[in-house]
């Protein structure tokens, strides 16, 4: 009985200290931020309730977009090697094959209308400033035309599998022009020096970011980097919730590949230890019964 009391005192002291230096201290150092918004409700230049016309969208995309963007899945390869594209635009324009699948519809329409405001980069590209964003605004298109483009992009986007391969495709389409993933042997399409000059900061290799930032942080950060890193040059990429989850899943598959093994082995080791503890207890009872 007395020993249980001692144990309770120690558990209380250790528990209080633990609470203070872990959950509490972290809540002080990293205050909660507003929840992720997957409707992108601040972007409202385009009426997205209009139904798009795929045929017309195809015409518009072929006239306006493929000069810069590849759309491999629709038979439009890149017009120049990555190094040249990076030299021309600062960053390699992403292949749009997956665009209709990974970007939120409202975000995508508003991005085409005005990339800078949709990406939350007005601090970097102020109106009337000297620096111009490499992709033009298509604010001269009518909302109907923009929705036609969106519909076309949605129609060409391939389905991907719900596994590591599918997650990889999403990651590379959404983040791959800037970020490398060394532990998956993936290099960003834009060469290192160009991307640094273009962004003003080197996009970090994301191999271990699932560990250093954790899922909770990534969930807010990818949705809108400005909320957690004010004035960062990383754009809001505008992924819908499903695509974002795929990206995070991929970061975990690469950065914490032994998670499943760890969790299943953990249970066995604990079970084994528990049996040991019980046997040790019975043995102790037997031995001490002779001396008490």
């Amino acid at each position: 009985m007395k020993e249980l009391k001692i144990l309770a005192v120690i558990a209380a002291l250790v528990g209080i200290t633990y609470y203070g230096i872990e959950p509490y201290a972290h809540s002080v150092m990293h205050p909660e931020v507003s929840a992720a918004d997957f409707t992108f409700k601040d972007a409202k230049n385009v009426d997205t309730s209009l139904a798009g016309n795929v045929e017309n969208g195809k015409v518009l995309v072929e006239a306006n977009c493929i000069a810069c963007h590849a759309i491999e899945k629709a038979g439009h390869p890149a017009l120049m090697p990555n190094a040249d594209a990076a030299a021309s635009y600062g960053v390699v324009p992403p292949d749009l094959s997956h665009a209709g699948r990974i970007y939120d519809k409202n975000y995508l329409a508003n991005f085409i209308f005005d990339p800078v405001s949709a990406m939350h980069l007005s601090h970097k590209y102020p109106v009337g400033g000297t620096k111009a964003f490499p992709m033009p605004s298509y604010n001269w298109m009518t909302p109907q035309e923009i929705m036609d483009v969106v519909s076309y992009l949605q129609s060409v986007a391939p389905k991907v599998t719900e596994d590591k391969e599918g997650h990889k495709a999403t990651f590379e389409a959404a983040c791959g022009r800037c970020h490398s993933m060394a532990y998956a042997k993936f290099d960003a399409t834009t060469p290192k020096d160009s991307i640094k000059a273009y962004m003003g900061a080197t996009p970090p290799d994301l191999s271990q970011y699932i560990k250093s930032r954790g899922e909770h942080y990534l969930h807010s950060f990818i949705n809108d980097p400005q909320v957690l890193l004010k004035n960062t040059s990383m754009p809001r990429v505008g992924l819908n919730e499903k695509a974002q989850e795929e990206v995070i899943a991929y970061m975990e598959e690469i950065g914490d590949s032994k998670k499943a093994e760890r969790e299943s082995l953990g249970l066995w080791v604990m079970l084994y230890t528990f049996v040991f503890a019980i046997l040790a207890y019975l043995w102790k009872r037997k031995i001490w019964s002779e001396v008490h």
Binding site: I16, A182, Y183, R213, G266, M270, T273, A277, W283, I287
Partner: protein, 416 residues
């Protein structure tokens, strides 16, 4: 040379040459431990087991770790964590073990203080224990640098920088420790050597010394009672086990330790597999970058209290800068526990709660260390800085007051 007769069995053959019988008696079956003890007396055996786990897991890590600033991070986080079969397991055991070993060390230490096991003949046990504490601190600090993450780098930077405050030689000392003007490859390779060779060797030596120091004064007991061990041992050997105040180390004492160990390991493995973030800080999964200071730098949790004693002094007093005052307080904090046997002037060897004045001192000290630990992690801004200062001051006052408090206690209890 003595005559050796033909041995009848393998056991006898070895016994003739190595004196196994005698050895087992001296070390195990006739090494006497008081019967009146609780599970807190199992901490030493837990520590021995933890050290063994650290050595074994460390040896496995050592097979793949690369002590080079360009390779260290990936050798740990990719090669060991993801490529080598069960490499992650060894790393988790090692990193969580290094943290949990300090939890047990602190429990062990405060048990010693609570029961007065550091005085009246037990001074050398205490000193060898403090030596182990210092060696483990150095081992933990040097090991934390090895994965070469952001916290490895910046904690190493901040802690080595502390030595710069020492008058006259400070600046040169920092360069000497780092092997460079900043924390660099030379720093990593020398701390690697310390971590895997010199300090573990010294720890082994210190453990042997600690055990040896226990032999003559014997282990203390729950009541702080002094009795004649030889007499009680005779009783035990004569078969009067129930009335003897002692039990042999093996199997009686160890059977209880194994039971405590079993439940402790259950807790430990839970941490290893499911709850390791406290020991493997997320920030350390960002590669070290000398140009990018993290917004919050803090040492491992077991250094927080002494770090806060250092940080608490943030303003000038009587013309001495806060930095110098902090350094002096830090130096004080790091040697003062060593002097405990001489700061306690009361002859009483009793649980703290049965000592009229010491009990207040003990619980205040624990509370103060908890406050220091907590505020050592929080950003030192606004009121936090003042709480840190207050707690740091209380720490100094507690230890300066201890001789007086215990002297008064001695008078009150009349030398008992």
């Amino acid at each position: 040379m003595a005559e050796f007769k033909q041995a009848d069995s393998m056991y006898e053959w070895f016994d003739q040459r190595l004196g196994i019988d005698k050895f087992v008696k001296v070390m195990m079956t006739e090494y006497w431990i008081p019967k009146n003890i609780n599970f807190l007396w199992a901490m030493g055996v837990l520590l021995t087991v933890m050290f063994t786990l650290l050595v074994v897991s460390g040896i496995f890590l050592l097979m793949y770790y690369k002590p080079d600033i360009n390779m260290a991070f990936d050798s740990v986080n990719y090669t060991i964590m993801q490529e080598v079969a069960y490499g992650w397991l060894f790393r988790h055991i090692h990193a969580v073990g290094a943290s949990v070993v300090f939890l047990i060390i602190y429990i062990h230490m405060f048990t010693g203080i609570y029961y007065g096991s550091y005085k009246r003949g037990r001074e050398m046990i205490w000193i060898s224990g403090m030596l182990l504490f210092m060696l483990f601190s150095a081992e933990g600090f040097s090991g934390y640098m090895l994965p070469w993450g952001q916290m490895s780098y910046w904690a190493a930077y901040v802690i080595t920088e502390i030595f710069g405050g020492i008058p006259l030689i400070g600046g040169d000392l920092v360069v000497w420790i780092r092997g460079n003007f900043y924390v660099a490859d030379a720093t990593l390779t020398r701390f690697f050597m310390l971590h895997v060779l010199l300090i573990p060797l010294a720890i082994l030596g210190a453990i042997v010394f600690h055990f040896y120091a226990l032999r003559f004064p014997h282990v203390n007991n729950e009541a702080g009672e002094f009795f004649d061990f030889d007499e009680e041992a005779e009783k035990y050997l004569a078969g009067d086990k129930k009335n003897s105040k002692v039990v042999p180390f093996w199997p009686v004492f160890l059977s209880k330790d194994f039971f405590v160990l079993g439940f402790f390991l259950l807790f430990f493995f839970y941490l290893v597999f499911f709850h390791y973030g406290f020991a493997m800080d997320p920030i350390n999964f960002d590669k070290a970058d000398g140009l990018k200071t993290p917004s919050h730098i803090y040492p491992e949790w077991y250094f927080l209290w002494s770090y806060e004693v250092l940080r608490g002094w943030f303003f000038e007093i009587a013309g001495i800068s806060g930095k110098s005052l902090g350094l002096m307080a830090f130096g004080f904090a790091n040697i003062i526990f060593l002097l405990l046997p001489w700061l306690d002037r009361s002859p009483m060897v009793k649980p703290a709660n049965q000592r009229p004045y010491f009990k207040y001192w003990f619980w205040l000290m624990i509370a103060d260390l908890m406050v220091l630990t907590e505020f050592g992690k929080l950003p030192p801004t606004g009121p936090n800085a003042w709480v840190g200062f207050g707690a740091s001051l209380v720490f100094l006052i507690l230890f300066i007051a201890l001789p007086f408090i215990t002297k008064a206690e001695a008078k009150k209890v009349g030398g008992k």
